[in-house]
């Protein structure tokens, strides 16, 4: 059985190499063919366009009868991807797995997951909240993350690392952050609280200033 797994993985890696059209790449991380790194470009017409996304792939001993384990190495701002750990919420990586699925087809599924987020089945609740309350602001933040982490377009032409704008990273308005910072709170704390409360778009009107100050004082 071990032979079959090795044969299959090797074949999958080879297939991926030969197929130039899909832009999906699979590379070895170390000597083992069971720990791989997959990568694909961000899909067009999405905030992820132009980015290059890397995925950590671990092939379990029972592969292909049990699903592969995948998580994003590149940080992604997406409702179904944990913004902290890169863990992915996708049915085919769990109970909808079928042995006929391959590494390539799974990576393609990930790519299409970036096109069509499922905010109702979120991995990252905060990001999902952001997505549902104000799509425009979410897109902006996702684009910013793509630019910072996935080498997306819009990056300053100078090679120097651009100063990361923590406010934009959290998908917040600079004016809001400045407002509470001027009250004497630490900037990072303000960002943390406002992000947690989803202080964005139409939601701003729903959250009272006192509530924010209360959270900040905790």
């Amino acid at each position: 059985m071990a032979d079959a797994r090795l044969r299959r993985v090797n074949k999958e890696i080879a297939d991926c190499k030969n197929d130039k059209s899909s832009q999906i790449r699979i590379e070895l991380i170390d000597e083992s063919p069971f720990h791989l790194k997959g990568s694909f470009p961000g899909p067009e017409d999405t905030p992820y366009e132009g980015g290059h996304f890397e995925v950590d792939i671990v092939i379990p001993p029972t592969y292909p009868f049990q699903p592969v384990k995948m998580k994003f190495i590149t940080k992604v701002y997406h409702p179904n991807v944990s913004s902290a750990s890169g863990a992915i919420c996708l049915d085919i990586l769990k109970d909808a797995w079928s042995p006929v699925l391959t590494l390539k087809s799974t990576l393609i599924s990930l790519q299409s997951l970036l096109c069509s987020p499922e905010p109702n089945d979120p991995q990252d609740a905060e990001v999902a909240k952001h997505f549902t309350t104000s799509k425009g602001s979410f897109d902006e933040t996702a684009r910013y993350w793509t630019q910072i982490y996935a080498g997306g377009p819009g990056k300053s032409s100078a090679k120097a690392e651009p100063v990361r704008d923590e406010v934009a990273m959290a998908g917040l308005e600079k004016a809001h952050v400045d407002q509470y910072e001027s009250l004497g709170f630490e900037r990072s704390k303000v960002i943390d609280v406002l992000r947690r409360l989803n202080y964005r778009g139409a939601n701003v009107a729903n959250i009272h200033d006192d509530r924010i100050v209360e959270e900040l004082l905790k």
Binding site: M1, F65, V100
Partner: protein, 581 residues
């Protein structure tokens, strides 16, 4: 050691047969129980009724005691027979293969009535949901995995498609595996080698597939089925193709794992467990690696658990409760109360009681205050309310009596103190019952020790006197009895904690006290040193006492069980599913 109840009998044969002895003392036991009931203040009429009932029960005693429940222990083979009968029944009604019938039954959790109803409503919908037929496309009504011949010899092939019969709807598949065609197919198609889409091996010649036509090599199938059955304990094994909902029938699975006996046995066990779990009348024995099933229809419904304690035992003598997952025998207490009691004991809800007992609440703002020194003039830190720690009344009413409180009658103070003493006594009450409960549990745990001690004593007896092995068995019997009664006693304390004060509880506690006293007497007898000249006397005493203890135990169990049936018990809490009559 003497007790109020001594049985002496001149007949020497009396002691040689314990069974006889029990019957012989039955009347005595009965009468003393009735005397106890009469000490309570039940009305005469009730008394007569009870007496009548008791007489009636004595007559029917040969059949079953009121605290016992009818049940039956079934072997795995007899369960299989029931399953087989269900399958044949369904396959007869629907005119389908046995393997199809079993897939349908599994899909509907073995609920025959609902299956028949649904099948009559729309056979195709049920077949699709059960993974027997493909949902789309509908043109050719594919018979659920069926071979053209229906003889038993063709059963093997019924679920397996060796690419000889393919679904016309799968033209792409047709080109892939002509090599597997077992010569029946004309070699018109290109003999391109079959490449399994899972292991990418082109040297495989044997393939398998379900009705859907998705073919995979046998090695992959076997690895897949094994991983599903062993790692996921999955009974319903779907086709490996993505999104294909067909479920593999048993014959297919048997072929796929090709002689892997342990996986097949596991699959079979899963099937039986699923059947047992689906049937409320059945329960698998929870003892490790025990394969017996107990059937107990009397305790199948939740409502019945309010009146009976379904203690059952499988053929291998593993005692368990049919109604709840509590280990062993929790008679005479019903499941709901036993569960509540255990939860109370495990919770640290008693921490709250401690706080209540050791602290007081500010009568104005209700903050919890612990006094750790100083005078009785308290000022609440939070609301600045000034009060007296002793009487809890406002300090302003105390005038100049600074260090002594003589205002005990003030209403404010009384109210505050009332709440205080109530919570303190509730803790004491709980501890009273808990200590006794825990004590019996501890004693029961030590019974193993008592066993080995008793065994030694029995050997000693055989040496020091001319008693034979069989004649010293009374010691062991007595230990068994003590053990059993301690279990009963243990749970009676859990029940007493929740019983509402009143005549019924008094009667109950009388019975409990009699049993407890008898059990303690008997265990003391068992601990006594053995002297050669007094063995005969000891033997007589132990035997007498054991019989009496057994009788008392039966009385407690029976009276409690009857109380549940009559709805006689009143609780100081609301008990799930229990409605007092």
């Amino acid at each position: 050691m003497s007790s109020d109840y001594e049985y002496s009998d001149e007949d020497a044969d009396y002691y040689d047969d314990d069974e006889d002895m029990i019957d012989g003392t039955q009347e005595d036991g009965q009468s003393c129980r009735l005397t106890h009931r009469s000490t309570g203040s039940a009305s005469d009429e009730e008394m007569d009724m009870d007496a009548f009932n008791e007489d009636f029960k004595v007559i029917t005693k040969a059949t079953r005691k009121s605290y016992e429940i009818p049940y039956e222990s079934l072997t795995q083979a007899s369960i299989e027979k029931v399953m087989q009968a269900d399958i044949e029944h369904i396959s007869g009604i629907f005119g389908v293969d046995a393997s199809v019938a079993s897939l349908l039954l599994r899909h509907m959790n073995w609920n025959k009535e609902r299956l028949i109803e649904k099948y009559m409503d729309g056979a195709s919908a049920v077949s699709e949901a059960a993974g027997i037929t493909l949902p789309e496309p509908p043109p050719s009504p594919v018979a659920p995995i069926r071979s053209s011949t229906s003889s038993s010899s063709s059963r093997l092939s019924s679920g397996i498609r060796r690419a000889t019969r393919r679904n016309a709807a799968e033209p792409t598949a047709a080109a892939t595996f002509p090599s597997t065609v077992k010569s029946k197919r004309a070699p018109a198609l290109d003999p391109e080698p079959f490449v399994c889409p899972i292991c990418f091996d082109d040297s495989q010649t044997k393939t398998l597939g379900l009705e859907c036509g998705h073919q995979f090599c046998t090695d992959c199938w076997s690895a897949y089925v094994e991983s599903k059955v062993r790692d996921e304990s999955e009974l319903s094994i779907q086709c490996m193709a993505e999104g294909c909902s067909l479920v593999a029938p048993d014959v297919f699975i048997e072929t796929a794992i090709a002689g892997d006996k342990s996986t097949w046995a596991r699959f079979h066990e899963l099937d039986i467990r699923h059947f047992v779990a689906s049937n409320p009348n059945l329960k698998y024995c929870p003892a490790p690696s025990c394969t017996f099933t107990v059937s107990c229809p009397a305790a199948a419904s939740k409502s019945s658990l309010a009146t009976v304690v379904p203690t059952v035992a499988c053929e291998a003598h593993h005692k368990f409760c049919f109604g709840c997952p509590i280990d062993g025998d929790h008679r005479p207490v019903i499941c709901g109360i036993a569960k509540m009691w255990l939860k109370k004991c495990h919770d640290d809800s008693e921490t709250a009681n401690w706080i209540k007992s050791n602290t007081k609440e500010c009568s104005k703002c209700q903050s919890t205050i612990e006094k750790n020194g100083g005078c009785n003039h308290m000022t609440c830190k939070k609301c600045k309310y000034e009060f007296c720690w002793v009487c809890m009344g406002p300090w302003s009413e105390h005038g100049t009596a600074w260090y002594s409180c003589n205002r005990y009658d003030e209403k404010d103070g009384i109210d505050a103190r009332d709440a205080q003493s109530k919570s303190r006594s509730s803790l004491e009450r709980y501890l009273h019952y808990y200590n006794r409960w825990a004590n019996h549990e501890q004693s029961a745990k030590l019974s193993m020790e008592l066993y080995s001690k008793t065994e030694k004593k029995m050997e000693e007896m055989q040496i020091t006197s001319d008693l034979t092995w069989i004649e010293v068995q009374f010691m062991k019997k007595a230990v068994d009895e003590v053990d059993k009664c301690r279990m009963t006693l243990k749970w009676t304390y859990a029940m007493a904690y929740y019983l509402e004060k009143g005549n019924e509880k008094e009667l109950y506690e009388d019975n409990q006290r009699d049993l407890e006293r008898a059990v303690e007497d008997l265990s003391e007898l068992l601990e006594q040193p053995i002297e050669a000249d007094s063995i005969a006397l000891l033997r007589q005493k132990v035997t007498d006492k054991a019989v009496y203890v057994q009788k008392r135990n039966e009385i407690v169990l029976e009276d409690t069980a009857n109380g549940f049936v009559d709805g006689r018990w009143r609780w100081n809490v609301s008990v799930d599913g229990y409605h007092a009559a």
